[in-house]
């Protein structure tokens, strides 16, 4: 693997107090062939990046609601502004919660129906392989990536759910049979991930950045999201993963 430092697309990875997965997210960005750029919660400066990943963890200790405080952080004000102008943004786990709290994605994530923190490798179906963050997947692709959260139950009003389905904005759905698979948390319509109307803002609860290398994850299925955005940014990764 080669580093893409100094060339190619630059993808920002935000760190809030309590963020856990910024290092893995940066590693996934590098693995896919882009340059990860650290972004700090207290700086409203996006450092000219071409896309942003809002990684997982427990920003601000999940105080108030998961993602609620982070959504008001200076860096998120800048992300919201840039996202509304078309900057690609991916929220993973706590990052998804933050994007919902910031109003960039509809709905909310609430406590898992089981009340348990769930940590397992999860099967998902890619429901729309023609968006910014999913274009590298085959139609109907089934992927296996880790999931680990206590507040992963996606909820939204019925008309919002219908709109998401009708516009192809449900990106990932929980699938699989057996006690350890299927819908893990009571998420409405088995939704694991969604996107904005133009597909450039996406969020999902499971962790693609933990599944980029069979050495450290169940699969390398998660790389597809990062390759997808790099395709859009005009630099298809040449790095063999």
């Amino acid at each position: 693997m080669t580093s893409a430092t100094g060339s190619g697309p630059r993808i920002g990875v935000i760190t809030f107090p309590g963020t856990l997965d910024d290092v893995d997210a940066a590693r996934a960005v590098r693995f896919a062939g882009a340059e990860p750029v650290p972004l700090w919660h207290a700086d409203a400066d996006l450092r000219g990046v071409d896309a942003v990943v809002v990684p997982g963890g427990f920003s601000y200790g999940d105080y108030l609601r998961a993602g609620a405080i982070a959504a008001q952080a200076p860096v998120m004000r800048a992300v919201v502004e840039a996202a509304r102008r078309g900057l690609p943004v991916l929220g993973i786990c706590n990052g998804f919660q933050i994007l919902c709290e910031a109003g960039l994605l509809p709905g909310a994530l609430i406590r898992n129906a089981s009340l348990r923190f769930i940590c397992r490798d999860q099967w998902l179906r890619v429901e729309n392989p023609s968006t910014t963050w999913t274009s590298r997947f085959e139609p109907g692709a089934e992927i296996l990536i880790p999931m680990k959260n206590a507040e992963g139950c996606f909820v939204a009003a019925e008309p919002v759910l219908d709109e998401l389905e009708g516009e192809g904005r449900v990106l990932f759905r929980y699938i699989g049979d057996g006690p350890a698979q299927g819908n893990p948390n009571g998420a409405m319509r088995d939704i694991a991930g969604i996107c904005s109307p133009d597909g450039r803002i996406a969020g999902l609860m499971p962790h693609p950045e933990h599944a980029i290398d069979p050495l450290t994850g169940p699969t390398d299925d998660g790389l597809g999201l990062f390759f997808s955005v790099l395709d859009l940014l005009g630099a298809a990764a040449k790095v063999g993963a």
Partner: protein
């Protein structure tokens, strides 16, 4: 300065697994007559006179509660003492 209470509850149509767990515990601890528990949040704010009712709605709906899943009530617990009418003040003397 005034004290303001903001109470936040999960909307009726949203699943409240914590409330359900509390309900089950109440049944086990000898209170089978309780038929529903919904867990919410209570905030006590101290605000100065520059904070209007509209500001309080913005504070409650914009940060303290998430309108997608929660509803809220804002109550001024300790409203600022009304300025006595001059005539009334004189009458009281």
């Amino acid at each position: 300065m005034a004290r303001v209470a903001v109470d936040v509850v999960i909307k009726p149509e949203i699943l409240d697994p914590q409330g359900k767990a509390i309900l089950a515990a109440l049944a086990r601890t000898g209170h089978p007559g309780v038929s529903s528990v919904r867990q919410g949040k209570h905030f006590d704010l101290e605000v100065d006179d520059s904070v209007s009712d509209d500001d309080l709605e913005e504070i409650a709906g914009g940060l303290l509660a998430n309108p997608v899943i929660e509803s809220w009530t804002v109550t001024r617990v300790d409203p600022p003492a009304p300025q006595p009418e001059p005539a009334a003040a004189e009458a009281a003397l």
